[in-house]
Amino acid sequence: MDKFTKITGVACPINQANLNTDQILPARYLKWTRAQGIGKVLFQDLRFDAEGNEKPDFPINKPEWRNAKIVVGARNFGCGSSREAAVYALYDYGVRVVIAPSYGDIFSGNAVQNGLVTAIVADEEAAEIMGALSRTPNLPVTVDLEEQTIVCGNGTYQFTIDPVRRMRLLNGWDDIALTESYRDRIAAFKAEDRAARPWAIPRSGA
């Protein structure tokens, strides 16, 4: 996983509460592997009509926001299905940061596994940033993970993110290596637990 420290780029506001992962990546693309180009179908049904024509009023279709590296959303961004491919789609499209007041738990967990930052700001701050971007669409936005700041025009906002997730993103860490370092503790737990909870093992011969 790539390390993340700081980024400056185009930010696209998408002012929709409860923007679920079915909207981020429709289910019919779930059988795709990442190598098939999942970034191409990000927000597919929001971006295109049934005939495959672009919907001009969907923000990321606007020329100024097409190359977004940052998406600014509303509450409960990424709720719904656990599909990690929703994160792959955002990342492969080029998005490195999402800014929103809250996230679906599974989505933000998936994000950190793939180097996507989920920055949390207050409702009013998200609204303010979206407002600024609507007035000045090509206003560059800087997100600094070390400082936990967002700079957007004249405004500077402090964002929150779980400190463990922040560390992992800054260092590009992967869970598995960390877990492997506790191998002995896991084995000891397992041995003790098997004795203490024999009923937890599925009955064999079923």
């Binding site: 289910a27 592997t33 990442r34 599974i106 998936n110 503790r185 896991i186 397992k190 599925p202």
Partner: protein
């Protein structure tokens, strides 16, 4: 005396291998369910050249891509065939038991786990699927994870988590006849919102919850994710133990009695503190349907859809306009005036035998005004329903009786609602395009779907139940 604990605390500490200073805990996983969608994770294992750590605690099903019509042994659609073959190969390669298409126990992962007795009280259960919360109905700590985490669990049988906040949702009182677990959970989501339980583990408590059957509790916990919850659970009780006894993977004989003794203690101690408490009155719950594109857009059937013109908050008004436009409903329209084009009874939310019986009780001797599909949650439930003659009732009413799978809940097996079509559905998500691009979904209980079928529009099931045994 020890500090009183909630059921959430008890289940959490029983699985905590270690807690780091940063607050992250490594938890032991008792059961891991995989399905066709787990291919990303198996790919990660292949890339590292490693094997599944605990194949005996890992169980696979074929559900998301399986056809409900036509041959299931020779799947006509090559893409679906490939997805099913992939899970067969991945599980076989790692020595993981699969309930595949040739297995009479095949079904939807969240139906099969409880049905086979793989899901037990006190277990920590994960699956790469958000509706894993379902299994909490039996007193398990169960939550959905993403593909990277699935790979982590496959490799280590553990998962990193931060302890969530504890939320108790108490529903006291007596639900009226015809009111099901689905109505209760939709009422809860409408009340607390689609993010009302974000970051929380939820215990559902109160007399109305205790009165629910296991089927009803499974429906309830299934949809706790639609309120954003990490997991939802109901403390195990006599109803739970009676449900589990004799199921294939459940301990038997004296082992069962010993387990029940342990399980009986998995309740919230009196005086234990939750971070948040929410209370609802079951007596006040009417049959509920959704009208919009989020499960929180739920109203009693005698209500009317909102009118954006009467909404003061501009963001909210904009949302209402967008949702109503997508759903093709005029502002302020009465719910019972909304005509439906199709019905669907199925999914891990409402496809168990009790659900099929509830729908059949309404449909018996009546015809559906619209086409529809009924897909049992497992092949065993399908068989049981056929023994009880429920399939005849559905067929005689004009509905299709399909094989078991996720089917029209997510449409990736080809069972789609056409663009612009309106479907009364027992599923869990009314998201835009969930049942197919442009599809319009109204969520409700199986009995209410049956009522919509008979009426041809959204309808209150209660008058249709008059004089019938339910």
């Amino acid at each position: 005396m020890n500090q009183p604990q909630t059921i959430i605390d008890k289940l959490w500490s029983a699985h905590e291998i270690l807690r780091r200073e940063d607050g992250n805990s490594l938890l032991w996983v008792d059961r891991h369910y995989v399905h066709e969608g787990s291919f990303h994770a198996f790919g990660k294992l292949a890339a590292r050249g490693v094997k599944v750590a605990e194949p005996g605690l890992t169980f696979g099903v074929a559900d998301h891509y399986v056809p409900t019509r036509g041959s299931r042994q020779n799947i006509a659609n090559p893409e679906l065939a490939r997805m099913v073959r992939q899970v067969e190969e991945n599980t076989a390669q790692h020595g993981v038991k699969l309930f595949g298409l040739d297995d009479p126990r095949q079904g939807i992962v969240h139906v099969v786990g409880p049905e086979q007795g793989l899901t037990l009280p006190g277990l920590l259960i994960v699956c790469g699927d958000s509706h894993t919360s379902t299994h909490g109905a039996l007193g398990a700590y169960a939550f959905g994870i993403g593909a990277s985490e699935v790979a982590h669990v496959l490799m280590t049988q553990t998962i990193w988590q931060k302890k969530p906040k504890r939320l108790r949702v108490t529903v006291d009182g007596k639900a009226a006849p015809g009111i099901s677990g689905k109505d209760i959970v939709l009422a809860i989501i409408a009340y607390i919102g689609a993010d009302g339980a974000t970051g929380c583990a939820v215990e559902f408590a109160g007399s109305a919850i205790q009165a629910l059957s296991i089927e009803g509790r499974l429906t309830l916990c299934n949809m706790s994710i639609e309120a954003g919850a990490r997991c939802g659970m109901v403390a195990p009780d006599q109803t739970t133990f009676a449900y589990l006894k004799g199921r294939p993977y459940v301990p038997n004989g004296t082992e069962f009695d010993k387990a029940v003794e342990v399980w009986s203690k998995l309740t919230t101690d009196s005086g234990a503190q939750f971070d948040q408490d929410v209370t609802l009155d079951a007596n006040a719950i009417a049959p509920i349907v959704t009208w919009g594109t989020s499960p929180e857009d739920a109203l009693p059937i005698d209500a009317s859809v909102p009118d954006p013109a009467r909404e003061a908050n501009e963001d909210r008004a904009k949302y209402l306009r967008g949702a109503l436009e997508y759903m093709g409903i005029a502002p302020g329209k009465k719910l019972t005036d909304i005509a439906v084009d199709r019905v669907f009874i199925g999914s891990c939310t409402n496809s168990r035998i009790e659900d099929l019986r509830a729908a059949a009780a309404v449909l018996a001797g009546r015809t559906s005004k619209v086409p529809g599909l009924v897909s049992a949650g497992s092949t065993l439930i399908k068989q049981q329903a056929e023994q009880e003659g429920l399939d005849r009732i559905f067929r005689d009413a004009g509905l299709e009786w399909g094989e078991s799978g996720c089917s029209m809940c997510v449409g990736i097996n080809g069972d789609l609602v056409a663009p612009g079509e309106r479907c009364a559905s027992t599923t869990n998500r009314n998201f835009r395009g969930r049942q197919g691009p442009g599809a319009r979904t109204h969520l409700m209980s199986p009995a209410m779907v049956a009522a919509a079928a008979v009426a041809g529009h959204l309808a209150d099931v209660r008058p249709l139940l008059a004089g019938r045994k339910v």
